[in-house]
């Protein structure tokens, strides 16, 4: 009868040794862990706030340039329009001119005039080169050729040849896009 009583006491003693958590405002003192003091993992929840960048925030200058840099023109240079302008200027200027030494000044004047007039077409980021040659109409032959290394998708040229009784004029306009 005594043995049975002892067995009954055993489980009751185990019940008494349960873990008790103390909650206090003070920082808990760290104690060495034993097999009876294994912390129970707790689920924790947290909320993340996404910070929205305010509208109109500017990127650093270099990044902005890389994103928005255009290698192809929005508005391609119109050779037809430029040709009309060159024709109008050259016909008007050389209509009554006879070849003489003063044609040197006239060729400079014409090239400046053509360049200024085509500039007014306001093609963005286009560089212009205007070449004018005025020669005397005599028993001689002039051969003129041009070649370029450029971007055919954006760069172009236009030319106009004028002749009257005593002289001829060759006007070439090159339009080169700034890449």
């Amino acid at each position: 009868m005594q043995k049975e009583e002892k067995q009954l006491k055993g489980p009751q003693e185990k019940m008494k040794s349960t873990i008790r958590w103390k909650t206090s405002k003070e920082e808990p003192q760290r104690k060495s862990r034993t097999s009876s003091q294994i912390p129970i993992p707790r689920r924790c929840s947290s909320t993340w706030m996404m910070k929205k960048e305010p509208r109109g925030q500017k990127l650093p200058d270099q990044d902005e340039k890389l994103i928005h840099y255009q290698t192809i023109p929005e508005r391609r240079f119109s050779t037809d329009r430029a040709h009309e302008i060159i024709k109008h200027i050259v016909d008007e200027r050389l209509e009554t001119v006879e070849y003489s030494c003063s044609c040197s000044g006239i060729s400079k004047e014409l090239s400046d005039c053509i360049k200024t007039a085509v500039k007014k077409l306001l093609y963005d980021r286009y560089k212009l080169v205007c070449y004018v040659a005025i020669g005397q109409l005599k028993d001689s032959v002039v051969n003129c050729s041009s070649r370029a290394i450029w971007s055919p998708t954006s760069d172009t040229f236009t030319e106009y040849i004028y002749k009257n009784r005593s002289l001829f004029a060759v006007c070439i306009l090159f339009a080169v896009y700034k890449e």
Partner: protein, 115 residues
């Protein structure tokens, strides 16, 4: 105070280009008299050869080369050019060459590419 030089900006050198053009002209029509049949071929060769030599320099430029060959017969020829570009990076050079029977005027225009 140290001056800052951007490694990317290269300006056009008219003297170097001028030497290249002179060599090309001499090589193609150096000791030759004017010929009506061959003048087309000559002008095409001069511009092409000049372009090839300029590109070999490996500089970041777009090039335009213009060549006019005229027989010496007493007639006059005037050439002029006007450019709207960035004067710090772009440039041009014009070479006038002649021999006993013909004149040759070559103009080179170099427009910088931004890298």
């Amino acid at each position: 105070m140290e001056e800052f030089h951007s490694g990317d900006e290269v300006s056009f050198s008219p003297d170097e280009a001028s030497n290249v053009v002179k060599e090309c002209i001499e090589g193609i029509i150096g000791g030759v008299d004017y010929s009506q049949n061959k003048v087309n071929q000559w002008t095409a060769s001069i511009v092409e050869h000049t372009l090839t030599q300029l590109v070999k320099q490996g500089k970041p430029f777009k090039y335009i080369v213009n060549c006019a060959v005229m027989q010496k017969s007493g007639a006059g020829l005037h050439t002029a050019n006007s450019c709207y570009w960035d004067t710090t990076t772009d440039g041009s050079c014009t070479v006038r060459w002649e021999n006993r029977t013909m004149y040759c005027v070559v103009s080179v225009f170099a427009v910088a590419i931004a890298l």
